[in-house]
Each structure stands twice: as C-alpha cells, then as structure tokens.
Symmetry: C2
Subunit: 364 residues, 2 copies
Amino acid sequence: MAGKREGGAPPPAAAGDARPTLKTIAFMTGLGVTTVSRALKDAPDIGEDTKRRVQLIARQVGYRPNRAGVRLRTGKTNVISLVLNTDEQLMGFISDIISGVTEMLAPTPYHLVLTPYSSRSDPMDPVRYVVETRSADGIIISQTRPEDARVRYMSEHGFPFATHGRTETGIEHPWHDFDNVVFARLAVERLIARGRRRLALLAPSPALTYHRHMTAGFAEGVVEGGVTDIPFATAWVDQPIEEIRRQAARLLARQTPPDGIVCGSGSAAIALVNAIEESGLRLGRDVDVVTKQSTQLVRMFRRELLVVDEDFRLAGRELARAVLARIDGQAAEALQTLAVPTAVVGGEDEGAVAPTQARAALSS
Amino acid sequence: MAGKREGGAPPPAAAGDARPTLKTIAFMTGLGVTTVSRALKDAPDIGEDTKRRVQLIARQVGYRPNRAGVRLRTGKTNVISLVLNTDEQLMGFISDIISGVTEMLAPTPYHLVLTPYSSRSDPMDPVRYVVETRSADGIIISQTRPEDARVRYMSEHGFPFATHGRTETGIEHPWHDFDNVVFARLAVERLIARGRRRLALLAPSPALTYHRHMTAGFAEGVVEGGVTDIPFATAWVDQPIEEIRRQAARLLARQTPPDGIVCGSGSAAIALVNAIEESGLRLGRDVDVVTKQSTQLVRMFRRELLVVDEDFRLAGRELARAVLARIDGQAAEALQTLAVPTAVVGGEDEGAVAPTQARAALSS
DNA sequence: AAGTGGAACTGCAACGTTGCAGGTTCTTGT
DNA sequence: ACAAGAACCTGCAACGTTGCAGTTCCACTT
C-alpha cells in the first residue's frame, strides 16, 4: 500500500510563500494529484489511511482549494449574489438583510457578492448578467412585483434564487416574506381599540406585491371594525422622505383628516410625525400612528408611536437558507417562509412584553 | 490579410445556449484563439481590420471573458473585498458606504464581495483570508486603530488596500477620513456661541483612531473658548444604544451637568436626547446637542438638534477610487483624502443654506 | 495455471485564458 | 536575386481542478 514513489515532476517551486496546491501535496505525499484530490473529498475508492495521511498534510500546510480552478473546471462559483437597488436606502434595512445573509453563509464556503442597480436602469439587467455569465450559484432579490419579470426569467433558466417578498406569477419559487396582511389588520384593530375611527394607510408603491397585502389587511380591518377609510393614495413609503412629509401635510389639512394612520415603514413614520406636529396636532392625543420598525430607534423617536417589529436580519437568514437549499436541489415549495407579526407595541399595554416574530412554513 | 482558413477543430458545440468563448470567436472568424485574445485587448501586433472584425463579432455574440479563466491564468480576480463588522450596525452607515463603493465600481469590471467578521472573532481573520487566498485584488477596511495590525499586515504583504480612517502606524497607505478635529471644534464653537459653558463629549471608543481626533478638537475648542470640560468618558458612540442612554442619564444627574454636548454619531444622539428629556430637561433650552448625522432623519427626530453632515456615500466613493488607483500602481501618498466639515446646521441660522463637505487632498 | 474481481491508485484531458517563442508572408534595400 | 526586416498570425504550455478510463496488484476461484 502506497509505497514512497519519486514522481517525475520536480519539487513545485521553492518552499517560498506560494500557497499549496494539489500538486504540492501530491509531491509531499508521493501520491498522484488525482489521488490527493479524491482523498480530500473522501472518495470511496481511496484507502482509509491514505485519506487520513493526505488530509493531515493538507491541514498542516493550510491547503485551500483554488476557487478559480474549481470554478473553471466545475462551473461551481460558491458565490451568492445579492441584487439590490442602491439608490434608495430604507435605513438599516439593507444592512440588516446583509448581516443576516452573511451570518448564514459564514460557515459555508460561499461568498456574498453585491450586485447593485440603480432605479434609472432596468432591474432585469443585473439578474440577466449573473445568469448569463454564471457568476453566482444563486441569487437573492427583493422588492418583488406581482408579475416579476426577474422571477420569470430566473425560473425559466432554471437558476436557483430566493426572493424577499412573494409574487403572483403562479411560479413556485423560494421566498421569505413578512405578513403585511396581518400587520395591517393588527394595526387597524389597535387603532380602533384606542378609539380611532377615521383611518388612513401609508402603503408601499402599488407596483410592489406587498402593496396588495397591506391594503387588503387594512381594508379587512376597516370593514370589520366599521370605521372610515380615509384614502391616502398619493404617498408611498418608498418615496423620498420630503415628499412624504408634503403629502402628509396635505392629508392632515383636509376637512376630515384621519385620526389614525397605519404606516408601512419606520422612516416614513418619522416624516409622518413631522407633518403631524407641524400641523399643530399632537401624536397620541389627536392622531395615533402604527408603524413597522426595524430598529428600536423609531420608538425612541417618539414614545407615542405604536410599532410592530420587522426583523430584516431574520429575513436575510431565511433568504440565504432558502437559496442554499435550492442550490442543493430542494423543492421550491418547501422553501417558503412567512414572518407573522403578533402584536403592536406601545400605547396602553406599555408594560407588556415586546413580542417578536413567529416563523411559519406555508405551502403557498 | 487573413485568408479564410478552415481550422482543424470542429465547431465548438452546437449553436445552443452555451456562452461564447474565445474559441467560439476564433472559429467564427477563422482565426486562432491567441489572435482573438490579442485582438480583443487591442495588441499592437494585430492588423487593424482584424481587430475591428474580431471586436465586431465579439460584440455581436455578446462575448464576455470568463472570469475564472482569467483569474486562473493571471491571478487577477477583478474583485474588491469590503471587510466589515456585521454585528454593530450604525444605522444607514454601512449601506451608504456600500452605495458609494458600488457606484464607483459600476463602470469597471470589478465586483464587490462582502467579507464579514463578528466582534467575537479576530478582525485580522478576514484580512488574512483574503490576502492568503488572493481572493480579491484589493481590500477596504474601516474602524481603523492607531496601531492597526491589519494595515501593517497588508502593507507588509504588498497587498493593495484603502482604509476608512487614518492610522498612526507611520505607514503611508491610502485612506479616506472625515475631519473629526474640525467637527469637534466647530461643534464646540457653536455651543459657545449659543451661550453654553459646560461641555461634554460623547466620543467613539478610545481604541479607534478617530477617538483621538475628536477629543483633540474638542479639547482645543474648550481651551480656546475658556469653558468647562465635563468629562464623559464612560460612554462611547459605538456602545449599544441602551447603554448610552443609561450613561447619559447618569451624566445629567451629576451636580454640575453639561449644558452642551458634542456627539459623534446620529444614533447615539437619539439615545442622548431620550435621556435628556427623561431627566426633565429640554433640548435647545436647557441643553444643546451638536451631532454628526449621515441621514436627514436625525434632524427630523428633533428640530432642535444641531447637526454636521457626514457623507458616507462620498466615503465609499473615495475608498473605492483609492483602492482601484492603488491596484493600478499609484503612490499611496497621493490617495489620501479628508472630508472637512464646514458648518453646523440648525439653531439660529436656520435660514442659511445647508452646506456640504469639501474634499481636500492631504499628504499626511 | 489461468481467469475473475475488486481495491487502490494513476495519467490524460479539458474548463478559458494568456505569455512566449516561434511561424509565414510580404516589402524593402542592396 | 537575396537577405533583412516588418507586419501578422500561430501552436504550445500552463494556471488548479476534476471526470474518465484505465492500470497495477493481490486475493480468490475454478
């Protein structure tokens, strides 16, 4: 078994600083390059002690497979691409997702590549680029639309991906989403419980899937509670903060302004409150606002704000988990998770425990 | 004169969906692979019309060099690694830097890879990993320390990098920094102009280089203005927000509390204001706070806050520009930029124009 | 003694690219 | 007419890895 053998090749470079390759280990062990390769991946046709010997030496010399070599040979990139719009920054939003994703990727050989696009260009471009050049093994996208062309494209090309937000394409794909129907219902119920009767909703852009969820939940709550829906369809949470402030000011100057507002994002809520106070109204007395928050800072802004926590870090983790599983060949249907909010924090039950989110698996 | 020549190789794969390589173009043009390669990089020993012909076809078929091939052959990765600490998120901080970096990289062939580390592990690990495995052409790091081991390491290994923040290693390296000396001086001057006489500073952790800058600027201002320095060395802006609030509450409960505070970060300022208001004091009447802000949201939080804008997006752009130039072989000394704040916004000159930052080149 | 079968190991080729060291024409000078 | 040189183009080899198709050797069967 494995007698020492002087290979024909000369010692691969001096002991220098060149990092070890399979060839180096092959030379050190007196084995062939192929054997070393197979021994390192624990192939069944390599002797047990040979494997141990090779693995020991590999560890000793700090061998790490050359990514370019693997990639060229196998096509496997060990890269996840996070595609995101970099010109609108929804506060800590992006960084939390990134944290979650990297946390999940840390113990794997995967790297995270950021693939940005600007609103001025086609959101499809970065996706097409990654798929065409096969520069990643999987993609994560956000800001999904009901008929999302990117989802269709990746799906048709059999490219693994996960989305932050659902679609209505009819395509089964991995996603993670926050339950905005429940959020809006909880928010409306809480406002009603606090005696509010004229409610408005500051929703996301109608182009995005979750616009529908939030407006549906809001509408349900309003109907069941028998209160008035004050239309506020001129502003969306993804608009510039100044614009939101202007629109909110106009809303509050109407003859019948709302006395309760449901708001889809923390930063929008800050603009909202600014407008409220400039209109001479007082938050918590004249108007209540329920908003989503992804950081405790929103609540620090005004103690009177009623908040529902959305955990983007969790989203990042779930999305990473989903793409990896998808790359691994798991069924898309099993990779869909929904974060369901359970309570509104602030207001009367101030003493109550701050609840966080539950995680539920759905089969769409 | 490029006569048509039927090469020995068979048509490389069917017309299928395989993406074109040099071989594909070589077959189409009837040229050799080497010629095509050289023609695409505009080498001098290739005929003008051949070059045009090759480039035309390459564009037609949407040729893109295979990154793994190039990387394996040349060692060039076309990757910039952004090394960051992912468990403390200073608001939009990170995402703004990322936006700036990606903006700068967009027109280049470079990809951005995020290389995270947690506070629990050695900050040196990710840097060592990237350098050892040569998985990027350049590195960007932040949170520099006076004697930064990472800077020393990369410098010794001749690895291109740029840092967000300076060091006191004596090593000439590319950096971008915000002038915290000037910031603190401006802040103190403004507080004095508003009649404040007992000033405190909420600075960054003493481990970081810019702690020295900020405390130095603060001290200068205090001495020149002949006012009192109220020591507040128990809290740093990079502590958890709740901890800052606690420490600030204690500060304000002292026999001689400050009537003016200079704060090194927007989110810390929010905690500060919370503590101020809970102590029964009023911002702008009993105490003034000057803080850095990287997003307009801080100012929306309390109109009474006095702010100095710090543009992290600019920082991202500068850092990217610096690493790229460094990779390109430019001297480190020429790649050092300082963003100097020019004014404090808010308070009496409310009507004045909000100034942004100037960019100055320094030779350390 | 010849044949079979399995365990353990091997070299070759290829992924796409580029540096290198030639080639092959054609033009120019003598 | 012929050497020298310019202008263009080319194979080959190698970067590090792995799939494939062997090869070697030994134990065991017939």
